[in-house]
Symmetry: C2
Subunit: 384 residues, 2 copies
């Protein structure tokens, strides 16, 4: 018997109540019943993102919303800056280049966070930069980029947008869209929002909507002006992802019941417990500066084949964690804290890693990582 524990940085576990609500009989999307659900879901997103702007719900993965951010606000030959410190930073570059946009980058070693002062220095030298693209949390490196400080740099520049891929940071780290002055925030359904993949959320500031007026890049499915017109009437331009949106309404209810700020706090505590646990086991953290609370990356001992280790935990113990990508493949482990994840998921992950390490020949003491995690969880979790 193999119980399955999905502790990867997306997709993440879906709560039973959400699964049940999504399993209810299909309803039509052009009905008052659906429109009422859709309206409530969108109102809830505003609270999570702390904005009075209009979050738009798209039937796509997060990558679709990344492309929407580009094609709705920019033009060919526009100049942009991409913070390039991991797999998803690279994705911004590829999307921009597809549309003939001129990309400059700040290249970071995988594991490092960008410094807001470096972005400011670049923009001072290149005032014609139309947008700065960044990940709130770079999932491939488990690093957080300082969104608030970056927004402080772009906030008063009338023609430079801050575009944040918040796919693993929105709903995880407190992200104050209006107060901080973010221009575009993107996220997906399968991370902090505890849903199956298939929905993306994108919110634009007034500055971003102004730039949309002059953007001439081609777009049809991802035309956000068309979406806005429809979503203000509680419907969608194209067929809505009905079941996922029904599930989103349940997720929003769960988040509001827990308290939005408590959701952020829970992610922080489970992340901190995991960081202390892996350090107690003598493993080096991947994040050098600001660690993400979405997932914790750590290096495995050099003599352990990380791919075999991840496969062993998944196939023999039922514990799905993520390995590394590109040059970190086989070298690191990434442990998720996203979404429907509690203190005992953290302990399950750590205890499995301990047993796996011993099985793979590492010289570790069983229970030591668990104890380090327990200390954080007990000290910080209000309920434990």
């Amino acid at each position: 018997m193999l119980k399955k524990y999905l502790i990867t940085p997306g997709p993440t576990a879906v709560p039973e109540q959400v699964l049940l609500d999504m399993a209810r009989p299909m309803i039509h999307h052009r009905t008052p019943e659906f429109e009422a659900i859709f309206k409530e879901a969108r109102q809830g997103l505003k609270k999570v993102f702390k904005t009075e702007q209009e979050p738009l719900i798209l039937a796509s993965s997060g990558t679709g919303a990344m492309e929407a951010a580009v094609v709705n606000t920019l033009n060919r030959e526009d100049k942009v800056l991409v913070i390039n410190g991991g797999k998803f930073g690279e994705r911004w570059i590829k999307i921009c280049q597809t549309y003939g946009i001129e990309v400059s980058t700040i290249d970071l070693e995988w594991g490092s966070s960008v410094k807001a002062e470096d972005v400011k220095a670049f923009l001072d030298k290149n005032p014609d930069t139309k947008a700065v693209f960044v990940q709130g949390s770079e999932t491939s490196t488990t690093v957080y980029h300082p969104v608030k400080e970056l927004a402080a740099v772009t906030k008063n520049l009338p023609e430079t947008l801050l575009v944040v891929d918040g796919i693993t940071s929105a709903g995880v780290h407190d992200t104050r869209f209006d107060e901080w002055g973010i221009d575009i925030l993107i996220t997906g359904s399968q991370k902090a929002f505890m849903l199956p993949p298939g929905l993306a959320f994108i919110t634009l500031s007034q500055k971003a909507w102004n730039m949309a007026e002059t953007s001439r890049l081609p777009k049809f499915y991802f035309n956000l002006k068309t979406e806005l017109k429809n979503q203000l009437k509680n419907t969608t331009a194209w067929t809505a992802g009905v079941s996922l949106i029904i599930g989103l309404k349940t997720v929003i209810d769960m988040m509001e019941k827990e308290g939005i700020d408590n959701v952020f706090k829970r992610h922080e505590i489970n992340a901190e417990a995991t960081r202390q646990a892996v350090k107690a086991l003598g493993l080096k953290l991947l994040a050098k500066d600001l660690p993400s609370n979405a997932a914790t990356g750590c290096f495995l001992p050099e003599n352990i084949d990380g791919k075999a280790f991840v496969k062993y935990l998944r196939d023999k113990c039922g514990i799905s964690l993520a390995g590394g990508q590109d040059h970190l493949a086989g070298k690191i482990l990434r442990i998720s804290h996203l979404g429907y994840h509690d203190a005992f998921d953290t302990i399950t992950a750590i205890s499995a890693i301990e047993m796996g390490l011993l099985k793979f020949g590492a010289n570790i003491e069983l229970g030591k990582g668990v104890a380090a995690a327990q200390k954080v969880l007990m000290g910080e979790m209000p309920e434990i």
Copy 2:
């Protein structure tokens, strides 16, 4: 957010696939479709109980099958022996007395297992004893009684039945109905069989069926001869518990896929890991002789209010364990290993107990119990 972990000795967690199969549209019980499922479920029960006899499926809790065992085989003023070492031993006494049966008892301190030689001595002195009633596993005390040895005592007595309440031992401890010579074996759906409560299973030996011929106690719903006649034709005398039986078919498939003997082994390993963990934490085991692999009982430190402790773990940590009953109320903790329970459920339970103990002022070392459990799980679980 409070995830819920049901680690009580029944009801137990129901696997997702079983829940999904039970949620399929209702079918009628007098149909070839249902009869095919019913037949397969009963064939599966034979493999679990290791018998060629006919396990009967009743729509009742286990207590109904306990009563059925009495009313189908005995008469008023018959003499019986009850092994009385806990809450469920007491239930045999009450049922027998309800029907005017003369009950003798072997009274055991809660936590002790009966000795087969004591039963033999009693039967030697009282050869007119019609039945010996025992729990395979006494859930209230987490004690195993030596079923095999007891059956060896009664096997060659032509007019003395061994009636085993296997509600938390069948499907947990290897129980060889035919080979050992058990006469009646009872179990329920909500323990090792990983189902919601509502079904009971009862199997009679030829000796028990012979005694049924002369039993004149009143019975209607629980008339097992009527049931047998129907169930041999793959139907039930009264309306069948359709959804639960559909779920039972899935459970049987899961058990066969895992291997029946591997199911027993898994219970044994999780129980042993838990025993080693609570000992490492300095807690005294309740079971003095033979511990049950269904659940592990241990005494809490004397200055801890066990009721408050169980309530705290349930309401604040989401971990449902059982406390004590009657004179053990508030003094002990019972940790289940039943049914859909894996190594990480054991670790979750132990880590929660550790944090709870520290919270309640006990002087324990975090991670020490977890490490003791991990050692057993790693050494014994084929996959870890």
